[in-house]
């Protein structure tokens, strides 16, 4: 396999609204587009090879594009600073089509054909679950940036880790007290009837109950649905807070229909920004969200009290104060999640340095070194904030942001403590052999 490839491909060049307009007029250009960059980073001897399982196509493609940008930005910085253990880092990207079957194949390909030291970067939890057995069998460390409660549940295996982003169980546990205290005690949940929604379905009700609040109804929307109005009457009329989590292209429809249904009345809204990642918050139809609250992992909009690390991170990834691409203000990032790629890569770096990682023979040592981590300090390596890593369940815990949408911007109004998101661990991977 050659190590460098042509740089001119359109996967590498950003697809902006403008180029999209131009492009649509010139479909012919498509056929002539050459390959894309599979390998990045300096090419000296023996780079550390990180396999990147990317959602380039399929339903996760909007996220995948920004995960890739963040990854490349972090790797560039790591390499500029001398790489890991004196070796440059090379990212080898394979598309998993956001499909668990292909995902498993891709992990095998990265591990056995590309001889990557580890596999990293998966977001969608069904792809994580589908790929995890392969990682365990091939004994290749698998660092996911997924926020699902799959790693921490103990249902995967010792080779799967999530050190750069918190899981949904922790997120909902953290935000529940604020919701119950500030918005209302009678909550109705609307969420997608698939993996991402299950974690919300299962862990929000107990977290609210602990605050003396209750879930009145849970409305799970099947994944193929494109219209929501007909389900809105199922929302009990005494609902004080409507908790909404939607992912995918239908989210704008959902909000718009909610607005048409309720008009200016209606319950308080609390949503997970996952719904609106890569979507302009000022899109037509989203006016109804004005004044509502969102969970954000890392804030999309630059805040007044941003740390220098946060500012440097935003500049390196190339997003402006509105969380949009510096080249195209219409190209909105997935800011609430993609920081996890950055932080995960720095965790990998730190763990590799701690165990003096030399070759694929040291893969088990890398897992153990990661497990040995406890505190991660806020700073250039962790721009979202400090974190605590639980080596037994392979999961990081951190701060969550609750933002209010005002004047077309999201402003952080509350930042939870790490303790808010702690729960009793239900597994211990370290007891299983590597």
């Amino acid at each position: 396999m050659s190590n460098t490839r042509d740089k001119a491909g359109f996967a590498n060049s950003r697809i902006s609204r403008r180029t999209a307009i131009k492009g649509l007029g010139a479909v012919a250009a498509l056929g002539t587009a050459p390959g894309y960059v599979r390998y990045a980073g300096a090419q000296t001897s023996e780079p550390i090879r990180i396999g990147f399982q990317a959602h380039k196509t399929g339903i996760g493609a909007a996220y995948g594009r920004w995960y890739e940008k963040t990854t490349m930005a972090a790797v560039k910085l790591i390499n500029d600073a001398g790489g890991i253990n004196g070796r440059p880092v090379e990212i080898i990207t394979e598309d998993d089509g956001t499909d668990p079957a292909r995902g498993a194949e891709v992990v095998a390909k990265l591990a056995t054909q590309h001889k990557c030291d580890l596999v990293y970067g998966t977001l969608f939890s069904h792809v994580v679950t589908g790929s995890a057995p392969v990682a365990g069998e091939l004994k290749v460390p698998y660092f996911v940036v997924s926020e699902g409660y799959h790693v921490a549940s103990g249902k995967l295996n010792r080779w799967c880790l999530q050190p750069g982003i918190t899981d949904v169980r922790s997120q909902v546990t953290s935000v529940a007290p604020w919701m119950a205290g500030n918005l209302g005690k009678k909550v109705t949940m609307i969420f997608p009837d698939y993996a991402f929604g299950y974690d919300h379905r299962d862990y929000l009700p107990p977290a609210l109950k602990a605050q003396g609040a209750e879930v009145l109804a849970q409305i799970a929307i099947p994944p193929t649905e494109t219209s929501f109005t007909k389900y809105l009457p199922q929302i009990p009329s005494d609902t004080e807070v409507l908790y909404h989590v939607m992912v995918g292209p239908a989210v704008l429809t959902f909000v718009k229909e909610l607005g048409e249904f309720y008009g200016s009345s209606g319950p308080q809204l609390f949503g997970f920004i996952d719904s609106l990642e890569a979507v302009d918050i000022n899109s037509p139809g989203l006016e109804f969200l004005d004044g509502s609250h969102f969970w954000e992992g890392s804030p999309r909009y630059a805040q007044e009290n941003d740390s220098d690390a946060q500012k440097a991170y935003r500049a390196a990834v190339g997003i402006d104060d509105n969380g949009a691409s510096l080249q195209d203000p219409k190209d909105i990032s997935t800011a609430a999640h993609m920081f996890g790629c950055w932080e995960t890569l720095y965790v990998i770096k730190q763990a590799m340095e701690a165990c003096d990682y030399k070759s694929t023979d040291d893969r088990a040592k890398l897992v153990e070194a990661t497990e040995a981590m406890t505190e991660m300090k806020e700073g250039p390596e962790h721009p979202q904030g400090d974190k605590i890593f639980n080596g037994k369940i392979h999961q990081a815990f951190g701060h969550q942001n609750i933002s209010k949408l005002e004047g077309g911007k999201l402003k952080v109004v509350h930042r939870t403590s790490i303790e808010d998101g702690q729960y009793e661990p239900q597994a211990d991977y370290t007891t299983t052999p590597l």
């Binding site: 359109f10 996967a11 697809i15 609204r17 999209a20 307009i21 492009g23 649509l24 479909v27 498509l30 587009a33 196509t57 399929g58 339903i59 493609a61 909007a62 995948g64 594009r65 009837d193 409305i219 799970a220 929307i221 099947p222 193929t224 649905e225 494109t226 219209s227 109005t229 007909k230 389900y231 809105l232 009457p233 009329s237 995918g248 292209p249 239908a250 989210v251 704008l252 429809t253 718009k256 229909e257 048409e260 249904f261 309720y262 008009g263 890569a278 979507v279 899109s283 037509p284 139809g285 909105i332």
Partner: protein
């Protein structure tokens, strides 16, 4: 919400579904009925129509009405041209062999999806509705634009029906559908009819997409469900029956809406799908079809 208003809402939603579905399905029905081929890429024509509507809205720069009207014109034209091109370049050379056509249209599906992903992007993008009126009822609010979609679809259906039954083009198409060999013997240019039907089918899908996109957003993977639902509508309605297609669309739209009143969303979808499947099991030729020829 009490039963009456809830039912009203469910029916309104069902009508919107039915309106858009009947247009999309009508396109598929023509292709299916006349050419006897399974066009797996039909949903992608729908998707393309939506993406082009977004493009038109961007070109119009801000004014939603102009953007909408522009989309209504150029989107079907471009989609029709692409359909015609693929028909001439590939399907014709396959002599409309049903099996080879499935592979070819799967290929076309991949090409169109990738083109949309590469040139338009993976995001869902909204297209502003030409007008925003919220109709306030005592129990809930409803989108005025959705009512417009129902009306617009109905008039387009009437127009298509008139073309099919009252014009020479329609006569030629029906003759080809009824008996290809005889039509050819009577001097009907069957080959050109096929090209035209394929393009027309795609254009109807594109028009449906332009109508729906202010409600639903343009996304490069949006074509799958319209494809599946259109197939269902066409077969339930009975091949080649315009009336059947319309009634099947109403049946599916309204049952989907009404059943959703009584069950949790996923269960409602299961029951609605099963109910429609059983209609076909006990009436295999469709509601208005004659036995297959």
């Amino acid at each position: 919400m009490s039963f009456g208003p809830h039912l009203l809402l469910a029916c309104l939603e069902g009508l919107v579904t039915a309106a858009v579905l009947s247009l999309t399905a009508l396109g598929l029905s023509l292709v299916f009925g006349v050419m006897r081929i399974v066009n797996v890429a039909h949903g992608e024509f729908f998707m393309l129509g939506a993406v082009l509507a977004w493009w038109a809205a961007s070109l119009a720069g801000g004014d939603p009405v102009i953007g909408f009207l522009l989309a209504l014109v150029i989107s079907p034209l471009i989609v029709g041209a692409i359909a015609l091109l693929s028909e001439r370049l590939v399907l014709r050379r396959l002599h409309y062999n049903p099996e080879a056509t499935i592979v070819a249209t799967i290929g076309l599906l991949y090409i169109l999806q990738q083109a949309a992903l590469s040139l338009y992007g993976p995001e869902a993008r909204p297209v502003p509705a030409p007008f925003n009126v919220r109709i306030v009822l005592p129990w809930f609010g409803y989108s005025g634009y959705k009512l417009f979609v129902i009306a617009a679809s109905a008039s387009l259906l009437v127009a298509t029906w008139l073309v099919l039954t009252r014009t020479r083009i329609g006569l030629v198409m029906r003759a080809t559908q009824y008996d290809r060999e005889t039509a050819q013997a009577f001097g009907i240019p069957v080959d050109r009819v096929y090209g035209g039907v394929f393009a027309l089918g795609a254009m109807l899908a594109a028009v449906a997409a332009v109508l729906i996109v202010p409600i639903q957003q343009a996304h490069y993977l949006m074509g799958r469900d319209p494809l599946l639902l259109s197939f269902i509508v066409v077969i339930i309605g009975g091949l080649g029956s315009l009336r059947g297609t319309l009634i099947a669309a109403l049946l599916i739209g309204l049952s989907d809406g009404v059943i959703s009143m009584f069950f949790s969303p996923t269960l409602a979808k299961m029951i609605a799908t099963l109910a429609v499947a059983l209609v076909l099991v006990f009436r295999p030729q469709g509601l208005f079809g004659t036995a297959q020829r």
